[in-house]
Symmetry: C2
Subunit: 167 residues, 2 copies
DNA sequence: ATTTATGCAAATCGTTTGCAAACCT
DNA sequence: AGGTTTGCAAACGATTTGCATAAAT
């Protein structure tokens, strides 16, 4: 429903949660995770990771492809699946039709949440106080138990309208 | 990626968060909300709302259509858009390719969150302690302000594997 | 009488997949 | 060599839309 240029995905005043990890460390971890899944760290996969390292926030496929014109769309899709399964990247689904990708928290070592623009799909990274995270975890674990549900990870989003869509 | 019968969407031990509102009240509210958006409360729209009232949890389009065979798919899609815009229903997007729908919190008067099965897309409704909700709201509001983001509503999901997908 | 809603079938568009060539190990 | 990855183009499938008919005001 909302439409905009899906290749843009900007960042706000502060630095993003991503740029805390050094590129070489990220690649090392990525290689390890892929190896654990019997997958190779090919040139294209490394390229994808590099693009995500360089990004200030979650990127759409279009955004990723626009960074390098020597990247086949189908390979991007395929490799993002592999990277996701290996736990290297994380796929974010919003009401926007375009999936977005970011490095996984295992890789960046950060736990964060999102502000999601309902109009253009733009995503900002945010963090919550550790105490709040703990309480949340505890409550969710309790609810999961009631439903015999095996929780894996939680997600907190604030949905609204970003500054540029408002103006 | 995960696949299963999208027409099924069961409930667990307890009652769902939905069955607290009386059907007549729901219809009255729905009519009001639609009127406020210059939209009619047509037969098909009422049917959709009825199906959601009767459901124990969020339903996919397939699940909705399977409840009544005299409901055209395109009309379901179109009317769900109208109902969503009027704030009568709420659309839930997961990694599953099938959008799911539930009555909006304005209508049910309940604020709840979700356990989402990563394999089959099944969704359970859960609630968090009011105190925790308040802290969460406050933290999110603070973050929104930092990004000049106009928050509308928050969302908390626990993603994992449901009992039947585990067995 | 006009506007709005319906239902069918066709179109759309992000994503997935078949297949032959290129790449690793 | 033997299996994997790549890139092109074709296929897929949930959702959307054009259009003629039916309903509502």
């Amino acid at each position: 429903m909302p439409q905009s240029d899906p290749s843009s995905s900007a960042a706000p005043g502060d630095r993003s949660a991503h740029d805390h990890a050094r590129a070489s460390d990220v690649h090392k971890l990525a290689a390890t995770k892929l190896a654990a899944h019997s997958q190779r760290y090919t040139t294209n996969r490394r390229r994808l990771v590099d693009i995500l390292i360089g990004s200030t926030g979650p990127l759409t496929i279009a955004g990723i492809l626009s960074e390098r014109d020597d990247l086949a769309q189908s390979s991007a899709y395929r490799n993002l699946v592999v990277l996701e399964e290996a736990g290297v990247v994380h796929r974010i689904i919003t009401s926007d039709d375009h999936a977005r990708f970011e490095l996984s928290e295992d890789i960046t070592g950060e736990h964060h949440h999102h502000l999601i623009c309902d109009r253009c799909g733009l995503i900002y990274d945010i963090t919550l106080p550790p105490g709040l995270e703990r309480q949340l975890e505890a409550s969710l674990a309790g609810e999961a138990q009631r439903f015999s549900f095996q929780g894996d990870h939680h997600r907190v989003d604030l949905v609204g309208i970003c500054q540029s869509c408002r103006s």
